[in-house]
């Protein structure tokens, strides 16, 4: 029966595996999303007279019907192919998605105008027109589709700009993008504006390079002679000439001209205040030295001012790398669009007003870092909802600005983007300041951890400078200094550039440090490092030395904090439900497995120590070990159970001991049915299939512990008599593992005789005994039976049985061959000539008959 149970389990497992694999393979997936490549002709330019062919792909969701639409924009340097995966996921979530290569990218014609309202914004509005004409797209009104825009970086900015210029757009999810491209590229931590900002040279260069001249495809030389680039193509790539000229001017001087600021701001949400009036989900990366968190902060304030719903999330990602959180961003995007596009908005906006991704420790299973999302019901801004002020200390320090700006400190490497790397500082394992170029001021070790969420502020005094025009360029960063020898860490690799004209006699400058979300552990110190160089920025070529000190009244560091709640890590429902459920199942398993005891079956009969009737047993392999065996043993008999090897003797004895369960028939001992552990078993003493002792204990300890295990009074054991039969002498106090086979055999027989049981069952007792011992054994057994007890000896040694037993049961191949007194058996088989036969002859005859 159990064999079948095992097969059923295996079959069930196999079915589950196959079903799982099938479900995985055939689960409705993006293959049911239909895609179509389309070319959409648009007209743009200030006069609306420039024809551009936009290369686009339209993804329609499975299921048909009219669905809300999403315009999914790509980042700078990418094409529509860069966002294909996300487009398919959005389409599978039920949106008609249009991706397109922006002007100047991919196969789309035209030149890059940096999301200008005259160019890219006009293009995108005409894509909205195109969507309105599609039968797959749900309409709010004629020519007004239900449409949202999502995109990262350059694509995020087009989402914001189009939302400002086209009232038909219903919701946007801009990611890692800018509010003011001028302040992003010319930041100044004193808040004096981009004209006084420090040029973000490395990032600007990287982006200018990404829009370089179109690369000839590999193998193009074979198809035709390469046409040499014109001077303008070589210099400006795919940029509009006026943008190219402007870039060249500012990149050479490192200064933002008013024209440059004007042009950059035309491409920025800062130029359209009050015009983005639709639900906006701003996802900004914490690891972003290009568009830091303050850009999203400005966007959030601009949108919130119109009264439109806005949410801000600082996720683990950005232009400098990090996790990226692709899945989480997709979930947030889908839930945002789900509320405002698929449903009709209104109350119950999903998500929290402010979400910050934090280190959630390590996964208990994989020990990999995990992220958790702390949330707040309101967005506190970079100033935080609460502030902590810590005193700073440190002497006046002189720092050098090296000629040509080299060597430079490295805070982050633009475009490095290694996943999981927190900017260059963490890559190199330290904040890489150059000695002599950096002044530092520290707090005392923290008594308790401080969580900074927002933009810390510090004021320092700059004096004694010999810079030309007294204009100094500085880079301020907030470092986390551990108590031990570990190098300080610059959270997220962010620094704040400062350009400051030092008045006579020196002056104080208030610096807004980069916005971060960072936990400074207890015992750590916070260090404000003011350096003269940073690899990512344009720096003055002239050498200079500045004196940096804390303000006269003593320096302080203001740290913003926000009341964020981490998701409840508290008990989950299943932690309470699982144990009772499991206990119920366990009880069911254990109780249903119990044998039913049928009461009233016992019919005590002291004269029949053993009665076997109809006993049948098959082993797992189907082999019949015992078939319909019946015989009885009377009190005082010494019964020989005789049969060749494999006759079923041992199986019968195992059933007699309750070790195995008969398939049919029953065994009664003194009239009581034998079941596993039946109390009547305490009246028999057994030695079956060899001895079984604990090898590490002495012979004496084995017998004593065995008797104690029976739970019967020690006095009943008759230990001395049993030990006498064993005849082990001094060996009794040696560990059993040192015993010979014969010694174990005798000890086992002694164990069987403990308590002088009413029925003694011995299986092949003569094995391993020498002739004198066999004779002694024979004598003991006969005397044992004379005291009114019963002995069953199983053996294949005929002479042994003949000399010991008065009755015999002969078995062969699991069946009873004959049973009766030994003398009768011999008589009935007496030869016609009257001469006595030996049992051996009788036995062989019997077997021969049955063979």
């Amino acid at each position: 029966m159990r064999r079948w149970a095992g097969r059923w389990i295996i079959a069930a497992l196999a079915v589950m595996v196959v079903a799982g694999a099938g479900a995985w393979a055939f689960w409705p997936s993006s293959h049911s999303v239909t895609t179509a490549d389309v070319t959409i002709g648009v007209m743009d330019g200030p006069a609306g007279d420039q024809r551009v062919r936009i290369d686009a792909t339209f993804f329609t969701p499975p299921g048909g019907g009219r669905a809300p639409a999403v315009l999914l924009a790509h980042g700078f340097g990418g094409t529509k192919a860069s966002v294909r995966d996300e487009a398919e996921r959005l389409a599978a979530a039920g949106y008609a998605v249009l991706t397109w290569s922006a002007r100047g990218f991919g196969r789309t014609t035209g030149q890059i105008a940096l999301n200008s309202p005259d160019y890219e914004v006009k293009d995108t509005r005409q894509l909205v027109d195109w969507l309105a004409a599609r039968p797959e797209v749900r309409l709010d009104a004629k020519d007004d589709p239900r449409v949202g825009i999502a995109g990262a970086s350059y694509g995020g900015a087009i989402a914001l700009m189009t939302a400002a210029h086209d009232p038909r757009v219903d919701a946007i999810v801009p990611q890692i993008t800018w509010h003011d491209l001028a302040t992003a590229l010319f930041p100044d931590a004193t808040g004096q504006g981009p004209e006084h900002g420090v040029f973000k040279r490395m990032w600007a260069g990287i982006f200018f390079g990404r829009a370089g001249p179109p690369q000839r495809p590999v193998g193009a030389a074979r198809t035709g002679p390469a046409t040499p680039l014109t001077a303008e193509q070589a210099a400006c790539g795919r940029f509009l000439p006026e943008i190219c000229d402007l870039y060249r001017k500012v990149a050479e001087t490192g200064r933002a001209t008013p024209e440059a600021v004007e042009l950059l701001r035309r491409s920025s949400p800062v130029s359209v205040p009050g015009m983005i009036r639709i639900p906006t989900l701003l996802l900004q990366g914490q690891r972003d030295s290009l568009f830091p968190l303050d850009q999203a902060d400005a966007n959030a304030r601009a949108v919130a001012a119109t009264g439109a719903p806005v949410q801000v999330a600082w996720f683990d990602g950005g232009h400098d790398g990090g996790d990226g959180e692709i899945d989480w961003i997709h979930e947030r995007t889908v839930s945002w669009f789900g509320h405002f596009l698929a449903r009709d908005g209104g109350l119950g906006v999903p998500g929290s007003a402010f979400t910050v991704t934090r280190d959630g420790g390590r996964d208990p299973g994989s020990r990999q870092p995990v992220l958790l999302h702390a949330t707040a019901g309101g967005y506190p801004g970079l100033g935080g909802s609460a502030r902590t002020t810590l005193p700073l200390s440190g002497p006046e320090q002189r720092i050098a600005a090296p000629p040509g700006g080299a060597p430079a400190a490295v805070s982050s490497i633009p475009g490095f983007g290694a996943p999981g790397a927190g900017g260059a500082a963490e890559l190199f394992g330290a904040a890489a300041d150059v000695p002599g170029q950096s002044a530092s001021f520290e707090t005392r070790p923290l008594a308790r951890p401080v969580q900074v969420t927002g933009s810390p502020a510090v004021t320092v005094r700059v004096s004694g400078t010999d810079a030309p025009g007294r204009e100094v360029t500085l880079f301020a960063g907030l470092q986390d200094v551990a108590a031990d020898t570990r190098a300080p860490v610059l959270p997220k690799g962010l620094v704040a550039p400062v350009r400051f004209t030092v008045p006579d006699g020196g002056g104080e400058v208030a610096i807004r440090l980069p916005a971060i979300d960072h936990r400074f552990a207890a015992g750590h110190r916070l260090r404000v490092a003011i350096g003269t160089t940073d690899l990512g920025y344009a720096m003055p070529d002239e050498a200079a030395v500045h004196t940096i000190a804390l303000p006269a009244g003593g320096g302080t560091l203001t740290l913003p904090g926000a009341a964020l709640e981490t998701p409840p890590a508290g008990p989950v429902w299943w932690a309470w439900a699982l144990p009772p459920a499991a206990l119920a199942v366990a009880a069911l398993i254990a109780l249903t497995g119990r044998r039913r005891r049928t009461a009233g079956e016992d019919a005590p009969d002291e004269d029949v120590p053993l009665r076997i009737s109809g006993l049948t047993k098959s082993y797992r392999n189907g082999e019949r070990a015992v078939t319909d065996l019946s015989f009885a043993v009377r009190r005082g008999q010494v019964l020989g159970l005789l049969g060749p090897n494999g006759a079923g003797k041992t199986t019968t004895l195992r059933m007699l001991m309750g070790l195995i369960t008969p398939d049919a028939g029953e065994i009664r001992i003194f009239g009581r049915k034998v079941t596993p552990g039946a109390p009547v078993l305490s009246r028999i003493g057994c030695f079956v299939e060899g001895p079984g002792f604990l090898p590490h204990l002495t012979g004496r300890a084995n017998l004593e512990l065995y008797w104690r295990a029976t739970g019967r009074p020690a006095a009943d054991a008759r230990m001395a008599e049993a030990l006498e039969i064993a005849g082990l002498g001094g060996a009794l106090d040696r560990a059993v593992r040192t015993y010979s086979q014969g010694m174990r055999q005798r000890l086992a027989i002694a164990q069987a005789m403990l308590g002088l049981p009413d029925l003694l069952v011995l299986d092949e007792p003569a094995n391993g005994l020498d002739p004198p011992q066999i004779r002694e054994m024979r004598r003991v057994l006969i005397r044992y039976a004379e005291q009114g007890r019963t002995v069953i000896v199983s053996s294949h040694l005929l002479a042994e049985v003949e000399q010991t037993c008065d009755h015999v049961v002969v078995m062969h191949r699991g069946r009873l061959v004959t049973a009766g007194p030994v003398s009768e058996l011999l008589e009935s088989a007496a030869r016609p000539n009257g001469s006595a036969r030996r049992l051996e002859d009788v036995f062989l005859t019997l077997i021969g008959d049955n063979a």
């Binding site: 159990r2 208990p364 299973g365 994989s366 020990r367 990999q368 927190g422 330290a430 551990a482 108590a483 020898t485 570990r486 190098a487 300080p488 860490v489 936990r519 552990a521 207890a522 015992g523 750590h524 890590a569 508290g570 008990p571 989950v572 932690a575 309470w576 144990p579 499991a582 206990l583 199942v585 366990a586 254990a590 497995g593 005891r597 016992d602 005590p604 195992r654 001991m657 309750g658 070790l659 195995i660 596993p676 552990g677 039946a678 109390p679 009547v680 078993l681 009246r683 060899g690 604990l694 090898p695 512990l705 065995y706 104690r708 295990a709 029976t710 739970g711 019967r712 009943d716 164990q751």
Partner: protein, 290 residues
């Protein structure tokens, strides 16, 4: 029923295989003594290793962003040393110890052939299993407790008595607060090992090979450790029996978070109750042929 008269005089099923007998039967076994010896010596070996290695610069120090590792803090005091010892041994050494005591208990008897004599004594099967389970769990619990307690003693003697410093953040928890929590941690580790114990016990009641039972239980832990490292399995992993084994680390932070431990207890109790029930069911019906 006529239980009282059916058996031999003085026989009562409820008196068979007393716990003290089973305890003595297992006590003098070489593997019991060796395992306890190993667990009690290990803290001293670790302490000696830290003392010997104290002068040498440790690789990896100075790497920022990684936080203080537990091994860096092991020498700061007795409690930290005990926590470190527990953390390095809970994943394998204690598993082996628990699997040994619980996996060997029935299969070992079957292997010695002494099982059939106990059953024919007769010790009722359910009672035999129950008494053996209690004693095996007792030995396993003693092993799991012996190691951290000895480590606490060793650490206090060698490195002194100090507050607990938390790995990663370096926060300090006063010793008076940490000590009861350490007791809680040891209790939690005990509960976590219950799954290993009950699986080993089930295998022990199913097979005649003690090595197979111990190896099977240890194998399960190894497989689970591999599976739980596969992030792609997501939330399913929370129901792996070993997933929450190190959740006790959260109990030693300044604001202890017991939710992970609660889940760990739930999973451990669920698995072990079912495994033990299956063990009783199977053993109750099994043909003992060893």
């Amino acid at each position: 029923m006529s239980t009282g008269t059916a058996g031999a005089p003085g026989y009562s099923a409820r008196r068979t295989l007393p716990l003290s007998v089973e305890f003595v039967r297992q006590l003098r076994r070489r593997r019991t003594l060796v395992m306890f010896g190993l667990l009690l010596v290990l803290p001293w070996v670790l302490a000696a290793a830290f003392e010997l290695g104290a002068g040498q610069p440790r690789p990896g120090q100075g790497a920022a962003g990684t936080g203080l590792r537990m091994s860096d803090l092991a020498t700061t005091g007795g409690l930290n040393f005990a926590v470190f010892t527990l953390s390095v041994s809970a994943t394998f050494l204690l598993v082996v110890a628990v699997a040994l005591f619980c996996g060997d208990t029935v299969a070992g008897e079957a292997n010695w052939a002494s099982l059939r004599y106990l059953l024919a004594a007769p010790v009722p099967r359910g009672r035999l299993l129950r008494q053996k389970l209690i004693v095996a769990l007792g030995y396993a619990a003693a092993a799991v407790c012996a190691l951290p307690l000895m480590a606490l003693l060793t650490g206090t003697l060698v490195f002194g008595w100090a507050d607990v410093q938390v790995p990663g953040t370096g926060e300090v928890v006063p010793a008076a607060v940490a000590l009861p929590r350490f007791a809680l941690v040891v209790g939690y580790v005990l509960v976590c090992q219950l799954v290993v114990a009950s699986l080993a016990f089930l295998l022990s009641a199913t097979t005649d090979s003690p090595l197979g039972a111990v190896g099977g239980a240890v194998g399960l832990v190894i497989v689970c450790n591999i599976l739980q490292a596969v992030d792609a399995l997501g939330g399913v992993r929370e129901f792996l029996p070993t997933y929450w084994n190190s959740a006790w680390l959260a109990a030693l932070t300044p604001e202890p978070d017991l939710s992970g431990m609660l889940r760990g207890v739930a999973v451990a109790v669920a698995y072990s109750s079912i495994l033990i029930a299956v063990a009783f069911r199977r053993f109750g019906r099994k043909d003992i042929v060893s």
